[in-house]
């Protein structure tokens, strides 16, 4: 019985992450976007912590803690700060309409379910469902990066994609800690890099709209 319950809860949390990814897709204000990302990270934390308990793998609690502290608290706070300092909180910045984005997102989720469930027919069912959901989160993250014109929107899309990867890594039973820490670490490094880039973009262009960058393509004269 506990096995079935553990499975159901893991399933629910992973599904919650996919839902949070959908919520990210339709946010059209930056502060709302960042708040939704914090929620995304919270769901990830719960999901990883549940996996840690269900698999009896204490090292996953560290991954959950990293997700909680960095992704749900530090990074959203920093992003809010950047948004306020740049004064871009009113920007509406979707390149593609919400309806079309949501429909595409549904298609991607269906695709990842079909692909993963068919391929992993023989794998452990818990890992299998988790992996399918994780792939959906990764694809939705990619979709978000494509549909956002604003640098911060793309960064959030990328980080939600990384959350999907962490979910996949946590679902893989006994995956060495090395990788999880590296993922968490890479998010941090990525954030620093992005921070620098953002700063330089601001310094040069007075905007973080990536569309403005297109004007400077080297091939054009």
């Amino acid at each position: 019985m506990t096995g079935a319950l553990a499975f159901d809860i893991a399933h629910m949390l992973a599904g919650g992450l996919v839902l949070a990814s959908f919520m990210l897709l339709y946010q059209d204000r930056l502060h709302g976007l960042v708040n939704t990302y914090a929620l995304h990270a919270l769901v990830l934390t719960a999901s990883v912590a549940w996996q840690a308990w269900a698999q009896g793998a204490p090292h996953l609690y560290i991954t959950a803690l990293v997700a909680l502290v960095f992704k749900a608290l530090v990074i959203p706070l920093a992003l809010h700060r950047i948004i306020r300092r740049l004064g871009i909180h009113r920007d509406i910045e979707n390149a593609v309409g919400t309806g079309l984005t949501m429909l595409t997102g549904m298609g991607l989720v269906a695709l990842s379910m079909v692909v993963m469930l068919r391929v992993t027919a023989e794998a452990d069912p818990l890992a299998r469902e988790d992996l399918a959901m994780a792939l959906a989160v990764v694809l939705l993250g990619l979709l978000m990066m494509v549909t956002r014109r604003n640098a911060i929107g793309q960064v959030v899309g990328f980080m939600s994609l990384e959350n999907g990867l962490v979910l996949a890594a946590a679902g893989a039973r006994g995956m060495p800690l090395v990788v999880e820490i590296s993922v968490a670490f890479s998010v941090l490094v990525a954030f620093i890099v992005i921070g620098i880039v953002l700063f330089r973009i601001r310094e040069r262009f007075d905007t973080v709209d990536v569309g403005a960058l297109d004007d400077f393509r080297g091939e054009r004269r």
Binding site: Q154, E162, A172, G174, V189, I196, R221
Partner: protein, 487 residues
């Protein structure tokens, strides 16, 4: 003797790491450039000593086999010559005021960090560690590409960062899938990520999972190889960063990602139920080759021109490895080495030419052989080599690839040869425009670089020429053995 190769393996990693720390603290660009050259030379010598050591015991994290020795030696050699080129190049950029001394300290520290990341990716015996190393090399190059802080450099760095991150994220998903496939057979924990164990047990892996993993890995690492249609970052990153970095990107970083793809290709080949990775690689390779060959005609920027040529050649190499078999693998390996040497030599020339003329625009560069004969002719020889003219080494490897394709699948040889010919036309047209004609009158002809600046160019071209004329039997035997491993 058995402990010896392990020491050299560690040295290949420790020297760049220590040098990066020293360079981060060292003020003064002259001393920093010297330390950079010295550290790169030491790393290269350590890599050479790997040959003497033979194969050591494969550890859980690091190992050396016949395949990665080739990559490490090539990597450290080009890393060394690029550091020599960089010393002269950087002095000029500093005088022109394009870089500040503080930026330069950062540049040198990043250079060694990048070398560390690339070497780590080669010697890693753990697919997770390899992924981390590739990510490290990517992040450092992103920072280097953005070094000039111009509009174009920022756009290039941003594009490279986003596409590169998506690529490595997909590669990580593929890595996790490989672990999932391995875990029921090898057991939980670290063992299921150790490369040598994976290959031994690959026959028992779930083929479906492995197939899916390879698709993610090919797309993920393939983005970093610069395969079309995931190449968008490559021309910008090459054109807007400092030229030594363009040379390193083209000659080395693309190889790192290629090496990762090859490792997983071997894994797939060892699992009988899995799909043959060949057709996927052949398809992506051909598309990249033909696409890049046509794009060469529309370039207006000299560094972009050769960036597209890199896409073309990576396409050829991936195509050759995709064809598989002893001959095509041999040719692919040879072509990879030849391309790295030739393309970095060309970028060294291009760096000097762009500095002399003060522009990267093709329309404003002409008559280099008139004003600077030594540089102009070296450049022409390099372009002739990369375009595939005999007697250079690139001709030989391309010839081997074409003949082996005719033998195995004649229909595939048609687009291959067509792509080669189209690219040949574009490169010849552009190169004659750059090398001959009247030098532009309104631009002052810059000072000729000193002899030291020519040494890396001549060394590379001499090696390429020598390989075209005569390959030592020991080297042929070695490559043949590696080609056998690649399956």
């Amino acid at each position: 003797m058995s402990g010896f190769p392990f020491d050299a393996t560690v040295a290949v990693l420790v020297v760049p790491a220590v040098a990066a720390a020293v360079l981060a603290l060292l003020p003064g660009y002259r001393a920093a450039a010297r330390v950079n050259v010295l550290a790169s030379l030491t790393t290269f010598l350590a890599a050479l000593s790997l040959f003497a050591g033979g194969e050591g015991e494969a550890g859980n994290y690091l190992f050396v086999d016949e395949l990665n020795i080739v990559f490490i030696v090539l990597n450290t050699f080009v890393g060394f010559t690029a550091s020599v080129f960089s010393a002269g190049y950087i002095r000029h950029e500093l005088e022109m005021g394009r870089i500040s001394p503080a930026n330069l300290r950062f540049y040198h520290a990043m250079y060694q960090t990048m070398m560390f990341g690339m070497n780590l990716a080669f010697v890693a015996n753990n697919i997770g560690l390899m992924w981390v190393a590739v990510e490290l090399a990517t992040l450092t190059t992103v920072l280097m590409v953005g070094l000039y802080r111009t509009h174009e450099a920022l756009e290039a760095a941003w594009k490279y960062f986003i596409l590169g991150s998506v690529g490595i994220a997909l590669a990580l998903f593929g890595t996790i899938l490989v672990y999932m496939a391995a875990q029921p057979v090898v057991g939980e924990g670290n063992d299921a990520m150790v490369w040598t164990r994976l290959v031994e047990a690959a026959a028992g892996f779930d083929p479906g999972l492995l197939n899916l993993a390879f698709v993610f890995l090919l797309i993920g690492y393939g983005t970093k190889v610069g395969l079309a249609p995931l190449h968008a970052w490559l021309p910008d990153a090459h054109a807007e960063g400092p030229t030594p970095i363009s040379a390193v990107l083209s000659g080395l970083l693309l190889n790192v990602a290629l090496y990762a793809v090859l490792r997983f290709k071997i894994l797939l080949a060892a699992s009988p139920g899995a799909l043959a990775p060949g057709p996927l690689m052949v398809g992506m390779g051909l598309v990249s080759l033909v696409f890049a060959a046509f794009m060469l005609y529309r370039r207006r920027d000299i560094k972009r021109l050769f960036a597209y040529s890199s896409i073309e050649h990576m396409g050829i190499i991936v195509f050759a490895f995709g064809m598989g078999g002893p001959l095509a693998n041999f040719a692919g390996l040879l072509h990879m080495v030849m391309h790295s040497l030739t393309k970095s030599a060309i970028f060294y020339c291009v760096g000097h030419i762009a500095q002399i003329r003060g522009t990267q625009k093709l329309a404003e560069i002409s008559g280099v052989t008139v004003t600077h004969p030594a540089l102009g002719w070296a450049f022409l020889v390099g372009v002739a080599a990369i375009a595939g003219l005999p007697p250079m080494g690139v001709f030989m490897s391309e010839f081997l690839i074409v003949t082996s394709t005719f033998a195995a699948a004649p229909l595939l040889a048609v687009p291959l040869v067509a792509g080669l010919v189209v690219a040949f036309g574009a490169l010849t047209m552009r190169a004659t425009g750059i090398a001959f004609g009247a030098p532009p009158e309104n631009r002052p002809a810059g000072e000729a670089p000193g002899l030291a600046a020519y040494l890396p160019i001549y060394a590379h071209l001499a090696l390429v020429l020598a390989a075209g004329l005569y390959l030592p039997p020991a080297l042929v035997g070695w490559f043949r053995h590696v080609a056998g491993i690649l399956g």
